[in-house]
């Protein structure tokens, strides 16, 4: 009973955070800020996937969260590397 309310609250918080990040992505002053917004969006997506796993009571979604974590990190590093060096794989 308490758990359902806490789950709804946490899902709402992370969903709102995702919307704020999207707004940041459109209004960011510099390019690294946009990359940071995308990185935070992928982190919040991981949290939402984990919370959905709690709601449906299955361990299957952890793999989806793991893939999300990997691709999010690689995307962030690739964007930053492109900004720094002008190419990703040298």
């Amino acid at each position: 009973m308490i758990l359902a309310y806490a789950l709804a609250f946490a899902t709402g918080c992370f969903g709102l955070a995702l919307v704020l990040n999207l707004w940041r992505l459109f209004t960011a002053p510099t390019v690294p800020d946009r990359i940071l917004a995308v990185d935070t969006m992928s982190i919040n997506m991981i949290a939402l996937i984990v919370l959905y796993g709690v709601q449906s009571g299955t361990a299957l979604l952890f793999e989806a969260a793991l893939i999300m974590a990997m691709t999010g990190f690689v995307a962030t590093v690739a964007y930053a590397k492109y900004l720094l060096r002008g190419s990703i794989i040298e």
């Binding site: 991981i46 709690v54 974590a69």
Partner: protein
């Protein structure tokens, strides 16, 4: 016992949600780029960390199965979040700093990020363009 565990899991979920939200608010509200880097990394470690702990505790509590996958996700996130932050800080620094004021790295070669050669000596193309 059951109620105490449920309350503990709920508290972890609420804490994680609040931290995730604070991270995104900080991303918007803070003034300096380096300050903006600070907020979402806290959302990563505390927000997602507590959500993962609550999730695995709930799974043990509900079905009795113990999985190692959430530990993997947590380890991966805690390893990669500082690296991503480091790369973004580097991108910010090299984008804004006056390159004439950089100290000599004392190695006989230029700064690695600004070095215009590849390992095989070819030109790296647009490496020295301004961000």
């Amino acid at each position: 016992m059951m109620l105490a565990l449920e309350i503990a899991i709920s508290a972890l979920l609420v804490l994680g949600g609040i931290f995730g939200l604070i991270g995104s608010i900080g991303l918007i509200k803070l003034q300096e780029p380096m300050q903006r880097l600070h907020a979402p990394t806290k959302a990563t470690t505390v927000g997602v960390g507590t959500a993962l702990i609550a999730s695995s505790a709930d799974l043990v509590f509900q079905t009795g199965t113990v999985t190692g996958q959430e530990v993997l996700v947590a380890i991966f996130l805690f390893l990669t979040a500082p690296l991503a932050a480091l790369y973004l800080a580097k991108a910010h620094i090299f984008g804004t700093i006056d390159r004439a004021t950089l100290p000599d790295p004392q190695t006989g070669t230029p700064w690695a990020t600004l070095d215009n050669r590849n390992a095989d000596g070819r030109s790296a193309g647009a490496a020295n363009k301004t961000i």
